[in-house]
Symmetry: C2
Subunit: 193 residues, 2 copies
């Protein structure tokens, strides 16, 4: 019972996500958010909690939506296919015309004031978790003989993650998809697998 909500939760969350994605956590104001989401402030707080809670929900939606390719990539059958799909997916995601340039987990809060430090740490942890997932997948590959014996899965995972982050910075600076694909060609041509 009670008056029903007059807006769509997920649509509003998507708007918030795109804003955080483009302007970062601290660069996005509540006024920006309410305007883009088409709701007013008390409705936002009732539905999502404070700004920090809203960002975390947007991050969750990011991981389950635009960034979901990472899970699919990890399900590829060979280590090389995993790496290739991770890199190509990163270039596609960060340069898709319908998205803000770059990656939310990189530009959401790389450096910020004390007020944003909790979110900064959350994004750092999020990147570390992604890197750990790659490492585990590569460890599995190694135990299957799908990775050279002299290759350390942790090193390779960190290397792949580093290139993904670099691609995100390039995209934030306006790099086009084709240019990033050439970067990926260079990275792939010379991998130890």
């Amino acid at each position: 019972m009670g008056r029903p909500r007059s807006f769509d939760l997920n649509k509003a969350l998507d708007r918030a996500l795109h804003l955080f994605w483009r302007k970062g956590y601290e660069g996005t104001s509540l006024s920006d958010l309410t305007k883009a989401m088409g709701i007013n402030r008390p409705s936002l707080y009732a539905a999502f909690g404070d700004k920090e809670a809203l960002f975390r929900k947007a991050l969750e939606r990011y991981r389950g939506g635009p960034a979901a390719y990472t899970q699919e990539a990890l399900n590829e059958t060979t280590a090389r296919a995993v790496v290739e799909r991770l890199l190509r997916g990163a270039a596609d995601l960060t340069t898709a015309p319908r998205n803000p340039g770059g990656c939310l987990t990189v530009q959401g809060a790389l450096a910020c004031s004390e007020a944003g430090d909790s979110i900064r740490q959350e994004l750092t942890a999020c990147r570390a978790a992604g890197e750990a997932a790659i490492r585990r997948r590569l460890e599995h590959a190694k135990s299957n003989g799908d990775l050279p014996a002299d290759t350390d899965p942790a090193d390779l995972a960190r290397y792949v993650a580093t290139i993904v982050y670099g691609i995100a910075v390039q995209a934030a600076g306006g790099a086009r998809r084709g240019k990033l694909q050439r970067v990926i060609e260079m990275a792939l041509r010379t991998l130890p697998l």
Copy 2:
């Protein structure tokens, strides 16, 4: 004539630089700055102009100081030495204990509000200029036969820059120097030179 300035311009600028480096352009407030610089607000405005001008001066000092290794790297005699020194220098700079983690040109303003957009563009241009300098150096190397004929200097420069940016993001997330050196080993082992 007139009353002499009671603080050291360059020392104050260094304090501002370290603050911007750690917290980004918008994450650093004027109160943060005046406190760290040991001066009060009107002195700051008289000596450096507004916040935006102060940041540009800090960026200039960054390029001429902590980031000056890039120029030295470009003066190396072989293309491989250039690339190696660029990468090793990036890891050293972004993980030096006496510095904030990461790179000012990456985390200074990757994503921000409209108010910071001018600085964001400046940093984007700064990164592009660095990449262009690498490309020109590699073009020169190619004309000297120091680069394989099938290697595009622009592609290689973009690849190197991408790894440098990735290293900066890793360092901002707390990565240690040793780990980044392993990333560099992987990148170097497989370069087309």
